[in-house]
């Protein structure tokens, strides 16, 4: 898969931002496709089969969530959502609907490019299905369930290990509280967000050098967690 061939669909109604993102995409040697509303976005999504969709939530013909809903019925390719609204519950809603990540306006191009790379890379890794992950001094082998930090084995409780492996399989993108609770606890404690927070706290104390200013296990306030590797 060569990066020249990668197509990115940009759905944004503000001309300047559309231009800005288009230039950033071109600079990454990807092919930008532009759409200014949901109707044309759906059309391009079917005809051009983009590898990634960048989607603004506030569009003239409706909320971007409706695009995610219909797109997810036939495509599993990553969707990055842009939103100027701060309300966290909207972010959670669009992520739970199937979007992979979000950026709040205003954002920097550097951050946008980093997110795009992470999403596209993750897709490649999922395809190769590597069981080993190395970030900082930490090495995780999902096949042997072994976690080491600076070559010292770290003992994780079953729940902590499960949490880490879910975050690893989704690394680079935000995973909502709800998704984590569902995958780790399997449908129980769906409303008990505090379980999650406390186990993430434990995990941070075991893995991070400075648990208060974590480098890898990041919090997305009001939304969920992201493992940045």
């Amino acid at each position: 898969m060569k990066s020249e061939s990668l197509k990115v669909l940009i759905v944004e109604d503000d001309v300047h931002i559309l231009d800005l993102i288009t230039k950033a995409i071109s600079a990454m040697d990807f092919r930008p496709i532009q759409a200014a509303n949901i109707a044309s976005a759906l059309q391009h999504a079917t005809s051009d089969q983009p590898d990634l969709v960048i989607l603004d939530l506030g569009l003239p013909d409706g909320n971007g969530i409706s695009f995610v809903n219909s797109y997810r019925q036939w495509s599993s390719r990553p969707v990055l959502v842009l939103s100027a609204r701060m309300q966290e519950h909207e972010k959670v809603k669009v992520l739970d609907a199937g979007a992979d990540d979000y950026l709040t306006k205003p954002f920097g191009t550097a951050e946008l490019m980093a997110r795009i790379r992470a999403l596209l890379r993750r897709q490649g890794i999922t395809a190769s299905n590597t069981p080993k992950f190395i970030f900082g001094e930490i090495a995780v082998d999902l096949s042997t369930r072994k976690v080491t930090k600076a070559d010292q084995e770290i003992h994780l409780s079953p729940i902590e290990y499960q949490l880490l492996s879910v975050l690893l399989t989704h690394h680079g993108r935000v995973v909502t509280h709800r998704q984590l609770l569902k995958e780790v606890w399997g449908g129980q404690h769906m409303e008990d967000h505090h379980y999650l927070r406390i186990y993430v706290g434990h995990l941070r104390h075991k893995l991070e050098d400075n648990p208060t200013q974590p480098k890898f296990l990041l919090t997305e306030t009001g939304v969920g967690y992201r493992l940045e590797i």
Binding site: L20, F107, G108, I198
Partner: protein, 500 residues
């Protein structure tokens, strides 16, 4: 006859009654004397008895007694031999006298009572109709004033009473009403039971104090006064009690309708406000995104830029991000001011929120050094993470703004009694003005410096912390340079939390 009072007890004085009785007896005697010889004495007795009966149903019981005694006397004197004397030849007439007297008394009393009962029934019917009219009138009443007016219009005239109606929940604030006993008003409203003042002499009016109550609360008071007669007459006290129940229902009903209308208006206003805030947030942030993005592209796209130009571009970017934060503060303040802070609380670790706030600060002030010192004994706290993050971000931003470049900011968290105390300590110039005033809206720590800011941040912090049941305090450091802003969050026990 609208009024009960005029119709019933304003009867002729006993003197006139007596005079009428004597006149009737005299007239009958005169007629019968002229017919004497043509009719039997027995029929004369009948005529006298008839007159007693008629007097009973027209003038009442006491006139009937007088009439029957008079009739016996007149009959004895004028008709029984020897005539014109009270002596009797034939002692059989004594039986006639007794029968006449007893029959007269009994029929008189029966007739009088019949008349009174008929009157009573017609009065009660009128009262029932008044009550019916009242309930109909109250059903149509739209406001409390209308309720009062309707009640007075329907009841005052028919019942022959003067009404005072006060609709007020609080017995303390009732304006004094001339002629009424304020002590009794308060007593009735506070106890919720009726108080009746019955006249012992005719000079004091009969008066009833009826609290208007729904199931739980006293809604007001009704005072009925009758200057002439007891309110217990014809069960007017009970009728008033029923009227008061109707009043209570009507008042509750109008209040419910009003509350419903108010909440409809309020909902519409809130929807509008939140729509405005949401679109403002969108419209202000979109151009900022372009600005920041373009600044970044300039910086990356032109590696040969002179250092001062590069710095200018970096400032455009970081000020853009700061502006976005300020818009966030402004919108948040507007939202809190109009709707009050809506907390979405959950159990969480304070270190997590401290971490995300530090990360946010570093996006626009990457050179600031931050040291954290969090007591591991601080348990999970129950708070709204987004709002507390906003508090910490504002405090950190202020600390960074008023500290010299490259200095260290310290964030600490520890336990003090039933509260967790989170402090942000800087090593800047400290506060010039009274730290108390800092939290007022739009007051700024340092009034005229190169540093910009709206001072909104601290006002929002105060609102949010107080909504969580905590407090916020600012002071200048004693031992060293700089200032400390601390806020507290209550520690509550939660047994369902998983143990480490």
């Amino acid at each position: 006859m609208n009024r009960l009072v005029g119709g019933h007890r304003a009867k002729n004085s006993p003197l006139i009654d007596g005079f009428v009785c004597i006149a009737v007896a005299t007239l009958l005697t005169a007629c019968c004397t002229s017919l004497l010889g043509m009719i039997d004495l027995a029929n004369i007795v009948m005529i006298f008895l008839l007159s007693t009966f008629l007097i009973a149903i027209t003038l009442g019981g006491s006139a009937a007694i007088l009439s029957s005694v008079l009739n016996v006397a007149f009959f004895d004197f004028f008709f029984v031999t020897p005539r014109f004397s009270f002596s009797v030849d034939d002692s059989q007439y004594l039986i006639t006298f007794w029968v006449m007297l007893i029959v007269g008394l009994v029929t008189g009393q029966l007739g009088a009572r019949l008349k009174e009962q008929l009157f009573d029934i017609s009065v009660r019917e009128k009262l029932a109709k008044a009550l019916q009219a009242l309930s109909k009138g109250l059903f149509n009443a739209k406001s409390e004033e209308q309720i009062v007016q309707t009640t007075k219009a329907v009841l005052e005239d028919v019942l022959g009473v003067a009404l005072v109606i006060v609709i007020k929940d609080d017995s303390e604030n009732i304006p004094s009403i001339p002629g009424l006993d304020m002590r009794l008003i308060k007593q009735a409203m506070q106890s919720g039971t009726r108080i009746i003042q019955e006249p012992e002499t005719t000079r004091i009016p009969s008066r009833i104090y009826l609290p208007i109550r729904d199931k739980l609360n006293t809604l007001g008071l009704l005072v009925a006064t009758d200057e002439n007669q007891s309110l217990k007459l014809f069960g007017r006290d009970d009728l008033l009690q029923t009227a008061v129940h109707l009043l209570a229902m009507a008042i509750t009903q109008t209040r419910l309708v009003k509350a419903e209308e108010d909440s409809k208006v309020q909902n519409a206003t809130e929807r509008l406000k939140s729509a405005i805030l949401s679109s403002l947030s969108h419209d202000l942030r979109t151009p900022l995104t372009t600005m920041i993005g373009l600044a970044e592209r300039l910086e990356e796209g032109c590696p040969d830029l002179a250092p001062e130009n590069k710095e200018a571009i970096q400032i455009i970017r970081s000020e853009g991000i700061r502006l976005s934060g300020m818009i966030g503060n402004l919108l948040e303040m507007a939202r809190i001011q109009t709707q009050g802070p809506k907390l979405k609380r959950d159990w969480q670790l304070i270190e997590e929120v401290i971490g995300t706030s530090i990360k946010q600060l570093q996006t626009f002030s990457p050179k600031t050094q931050i040291k954290t010192d969090i007591d591991v004994a601080v348990p999970p706290l129950y708070f709204d993470e987004i709002l507390i993050e906003r508090v910490l971000c504002n405090l950190l931003e202020n600390a960074a703004k008023y500290s010299s470049l490259g200095s260290t900011i310290e964030v600490t968290a520890n336990i003090a009694g039933k509260f967790a105390v989170i402090s942000v300590i800087d090593s800047g110039q400290g506060f010039v003005q009274n730290p108390e005033q800092l939290f007022d809206m739009f007051s700024r720590g340092i009034s005229d410096t190169h540093q910009s800011g709206m001072g909104l941040g601290l006002a929002i912090c105060k609102e949010i912390v107080q909504a969580h049941g905590g407090s916020i305090l600012a002071k200048n450091n004693e031992a060293r340079q700089g200032a400390t802003v601390s806020f507290t969050l209550p520690i509550t026990e939660n047994k369902s939390l998983p143990k480490p």
